[in-house]
Symmetry: C2
Subunit: 682 residues, 2 copies
């Protein structure tokens, strides 16, 4: 298929639509100042920055800025150490990947601590232009909170994407690398525009062919991808198979303490870095959901990860080791074993035993990307281990990009959670920034939501999640409201009605999704395998460790210290107490931590069962309201994007009704307690 | 793979093991009488019969009988009209496909009304030999009850088998016909040995390639299969796609009243009969589970079926039209629509409107091959329409050949059910024999349970179902006990302990499977799609029309006339009254016809809930007992067959426990009523 080019199609352009500036005053001012550009330094990324700048200004201002050699005219871009007009303070305040934008002497200075920072500064500047920011307000300094701001692609070499809801891979097709790399480059550009600096190019479940990505059969092709991402300041990583020495090396073992195994990995690293000198490292899913790992050989995860890390160390690579390790063959009859405890129990005893270039990648919650979970107590529980938090942009459990579900408010709550790891203020965002415990290799990762659909994300509004993830990864202090508004203005229009309406939909969407699906943190009431649509008992008698324990009297999992699985006790200090008691447990997580009778009175003055009924009716009503709101924007949105959202809202209404009726009916049949309002339950 | 030949491997040989006769007296008598064989007539099937006779006698007696020309020496086989020593009575008592075996003047006469009858007579004679029947007791006449004794293969051209649990197809592989036809011939032989005379060679769900089976691209290969089956007296049929005129003929419609459509089918028939002059006809799944059909064109099923029948009529072919037509997109909230009514409602109004060479194929129950269902009221409801009853030998809902489940007792109950269609005595077996209403094209069909596993059926004991089906199709008056014993003696041994033990397992197995799975006729508590293992709510909120409606007070579907879906009223006279009232409804079908409170007292003096608990514990205990019984036979059974059954019994025990615990827990959590015996429920 012929790919559109940026600038040709609004849905493809995402938030880089670069619409013509409408305010003629502002336009005039911009044209006056931005006609000349001087760039200092010649690093490869700098030329990318220059291209982006010129492309954006041409679109928005209708001018092709002239590149001049003078250091004192119009827009000045470059690494900070080369910009004489910056003050020492300015320079000292910049950190790696940070940037400064400064209106000074009728010039605009866009500078970064390093070349990546310059590129981020240019994208930030173009954002300011699109938002029609007055010149005198173009003064900012911005440093990334997280060192690693990663994207995980769950792409398979056959072109499928695990948990992908927007078409097939843009990288692979039928066990081949897609030749036309335009789309990869456009993706790199989108990611860089929001500050992403790392990408894992293949699924954490590493299949036959992908296991061979680290051999010279495939490395030349991987190197081509690295070349593209490098231009946008993005480092590439690969997911690897822990059993590679057996699979590829004809060894009889993958035991991490076996010398021939260690040597095999050292040789593999040498080969990789021969092709890709700035290769980032490995992502490893080991001993998880039937993947091989050190447990096979009676070794622990530190021994496994450290062996790989030693192989990468000479080249500056890191090992990112996932903590998603649990018993996936649990007996549903066993109420003592609790999947929520698994990552904590597996990794806390190893705190401090990992090499410095090992990073543990920990899912945000203890289960698996449910619409509502508590924060994993492993984050901040670990005090002497590098930590990356893993989020899921792809909406596996949150509507699969058929439903609108803006996840930034969820991520904000997680980032702002105070772990108390080193007393008050030890928030997740500071933990993963390495600010609470002095750790270098920290950060944030998320599973991508893009595919080869024209609009990248299937649902037009799901672009906001990719945008919001990048923005938060760089600056977790941004508010959900600001991110939403910025995204709408960049993506659609600066029309206030459009902005207000779409922001309203986005900012209510997560809560709405939660209302018509699983109540109060219990999760998992989905159809097995594909995870779409309601199935209250779908995981109740399974081996996955995911239960709600509903009976005729109540529902919920007792995870208290005294009578339950003890999970509440994994938290630190007051947090443990808070979750441990049904009285102080936040109600949105009530059923995650406690078994609660249907007639239990919530703080709202409603019984639990009435809350379930009400929230499900409210959720459906809210989706219908979304549709009304969206319809009101018909005049303001182009046909393609308007229909995309409208069609998906129709699906969402239908599916939300199904959720409502199945869940309400299930609990009505189970409890026998009628809806106080006498609404139809089946 | 190298196929075994008959005689080389016990599991492959099934019931045609032909073990050496042990009793030396009997052996001596047999050798004395069976050394010479004379065959009269030279029809092709006669030579098959002669081959079988000589093969069997060689194995069992160790002699190669001499073929002699004399009509008066040893074994005399031939079509009855050529056997002078038969009396007029003998000849007149024989019907098509019937046979007579007679010990007369120290000769054995094996004769049939037609060549097929001769072949059946030979197989029956070999059976008598294996059972060491004294010569003077070799006197019998046997006529088939059903004209059509069919097998339906649900094989796909890619080699898969829909609902197949014993490997892949023996006919097709990777969209090609398997070249080595040895296995097809061996299958034909197995089928003929129990009296099967018709086979449908492809799945009723006709996919892309199979749609093309009726074109000259594939007809030469189909004809080769027909040649093999013909030698064993088996006529072949094909499942066809009702939309073939569009798919293959480039017509814009498949409207049965469109003249070009009718002509297209006439031409197709001409082509088919050019390749296969004795082709049986078409099996059609139309307007069912998204298959095309006459409804698309506003036509009814009589119009659709008659059009096809007219095309086949000149060549003597028939159309077998499936009645498995229902709304598979039902809303679970809709309690008025009842899938049980569907076949009846769709076809009863058309009674008498079908051409004589149309046969309606009606599943035994109104739902779909559950472990327990009432008999379909369409059988015998129809009075002026040819009827074939469809059974399922393959154990889709009865343990998928991992569990032992001997289905003959179930089939017996069905065959003996009195429809009252023409007053008392209008049993199903008489209806489908065409004896109640004078209909020519009637009979019985069943979905095969075989694949390319060495032992044909996966579970060694599942061979008994194929055997039993054939025997019942020919003679529905045989008892389940007699069939079981006969099968064990032919298959394993004449050792009385072996016979008693295996018969005991077989004859208890269906009831046992029922005990630990779904209670009292409600069915469907299985995992969707693959239908294996428990999932109580698996189909409860689906669109398939299959619900149990359990709530905290009780369970069951009200299908009564007054307050329910009215299904009970589809039965005739007293049957309708019997099912309609909760008091007279047979308890094994109680939940199929009535919503019943958990505390309802059953005739056993147990409450419904206690019955559920007890039967599930009993079921598991019984399977464990099966294992004990089987272990006791170790000395008597060869290793291959012994381990096969033992391994599957271990699986069955594990799975039965899972069924017991899931179902009991589900109902305990729902009802809150404890087990009176205080056993462990989760």
């Amino acid at each position: 298929m012929n790919l559109p080019k940026f600038g040709e199609n609004s849905s493809y352009n995402c938030w880089l639509t670069y619409r013509k500036i409408e305010n003629s005053e502002v336009l005039k001012q911009y044209i006056g100042t931005f006609s000349n550009v001087s760039a200092i330094g010649k690093l490869p990324i700098l030329s990318t920055a220059l291209n982006e700048l010129s492309f954006g200004l041409e679109k928005m201002l209708g001018i092709s800025p002239k590149c001049v050699s003078s250091n004192n005219s119009g827009i000045i871009i470059g690494v900070s150490s080369y910009i004489n007009t910056l003050s020492n303070d300015d320079i000292n305040n910049l950190k790696d990947d940070g940037y400064i934008i400064k209106y000074y002497n009728q010039n605009i200075i866009i500078s970064g601590k390093n070349d990546r920072g310059v590129l981020y500064g240019v994208f930030a500047f173009l954002r300011l232009v699109q938002l029609e920011t007055p010149l005198h307000k173009m003064n900012m300094i911005d440093n990334p909170s997280n060192m690693y701001r990663m994207i995980n692609q769950w792409d398979n070499f056959d072109g499928s994407i695990e948990r992908g809801y927007a078409g097939n891979s843009i990288f692979y097709e039928n066990n081949k690398f897609i030749k036309n790399k335009q789309r990869v480059q456009d993706y790199a550009r989108l990611l860089a525009s929001v500050g992403i600096n790392s990408i894992v190019l293949n699924n954490v479940n590493v299949h036959y062919h992908e296991t061979r990505f680290i051999t010279k059969v495939y490395l030349p092709e991987i190197a081509r991808l690295a070349d593209i991402f490098r231009k946008y300041g993005i480092t590439i990583f690969l997911s690897v198979d822990f059993a590679s020495p057996i699979e590829l090396g004809n060894l009889s073992t993958a035991d991490p303490l076996d010398k021939s195994v260690a040597k095999w990995w050292r040789d593999a690293a040498t080969e990789i870095y021969h092709f890709i000198p700035d290769f980032g490292g490995f992502l490893v899913k080991a001993d998880s959901e039937s993947r091989p790992g050190p447990f096979t050989y009676g070794r622990d995860h530190a021994e496994g990860a450290n062996m790989l890390a030693s192989a990468l160390k000479p080249y500056g690579g890191v090992v990112i080791w996932r903590c998603f390790v649990y018993n996936c063959k649990q007996d549903w009859r066993d109420t003592k074993t609790d999947r929520a405890n698994a990552a904590y129990d597996n990794f806390m005893p190893l705190d401090g035993q990992f090499l410095d270039n090992v990073i543990l990648q920990i899912k945000n919650g203890p289960m698996d990307f449910q619409v509502r979970e508590p924060v994993s107590p492993l984050l901040g529980g670990l005090r002497n281990t590098n930590q990356i938090m893993e989020l899921q942009i792809t909406q596996e459990y949150t509507g699969q990009q058929k439903h609108v579900c803006f996840l930034v408010p969820q991520w904000k709550e997680i980032l702002d959670f105070d772990t108390l790891s080193k007393g008050k203020g030890s928030t997740i965002k500071k933990i993963i920034a390495g600010e609470v415990h002095p750790q270098e290799h920290c950060g944030i990762a998320a599973v991508s939501n893009i595919g080869n659909d024209l609009n990248w994300t299937g649902h037009q509004l799901a672009q906001a999640n990719l945008y919001g993830y990048g923005r938060l990864a760089y600056n977790p202090d941004l508010s959900a409201e600001d991110i939403a508004e910025e995204w709408v203005r960049l993506t659609f229009s600066s029309n206030d009605i459009v902005v207000k309406t779409i922001c309203d939909i986005l900012l209510n969407s997560w809560q709405t999704y939660e209302k018509y699906t699983t109540p109060l943190g219990i999760g998992w009431m989905v159809n097995p395998n594909h995870h779409y649509g309601p199935n209250v008992d779908g995981y109740e008698y399974s081996h996955w460790g995911t239960y709600h324990r509903a009976d005729l009297f109540g529902i919920g999992v007792d995870r208290s210290i005294e009578t339950g699985t003890g999970f509440a006790g994994k938290y630190i200090g007051e947090n443990a107490q808070m979750y441990n008691s049904i009285d102080s447990c936040p109600e949105e997580l009530l059923l995650f931590f406690h078994y609660v009778p249907y007639r239990y009175m919530l703080k709202s003055g409603k019984t639990l069962i009435q809350h379930i009924y009400d929230s499900h009716f409210e959720g459906v009503a809210q989706v219908k309201e979304f549709k009304k709101q969206w319809l009101s924007l018909k005049a303001h949105i182009d046909e393609e994007r308007f229909s995309n959202v409208l069609n998906r809202l129709d699906v969402q209404i239908k599916d939300a009704i199904e959720w409502r009726d199945v869940v309400n009916t299930y609990f009505y049949r189970k409890s026998g307690i009628p809806d106080e309002k006498g609404r139809k339950i089946y």
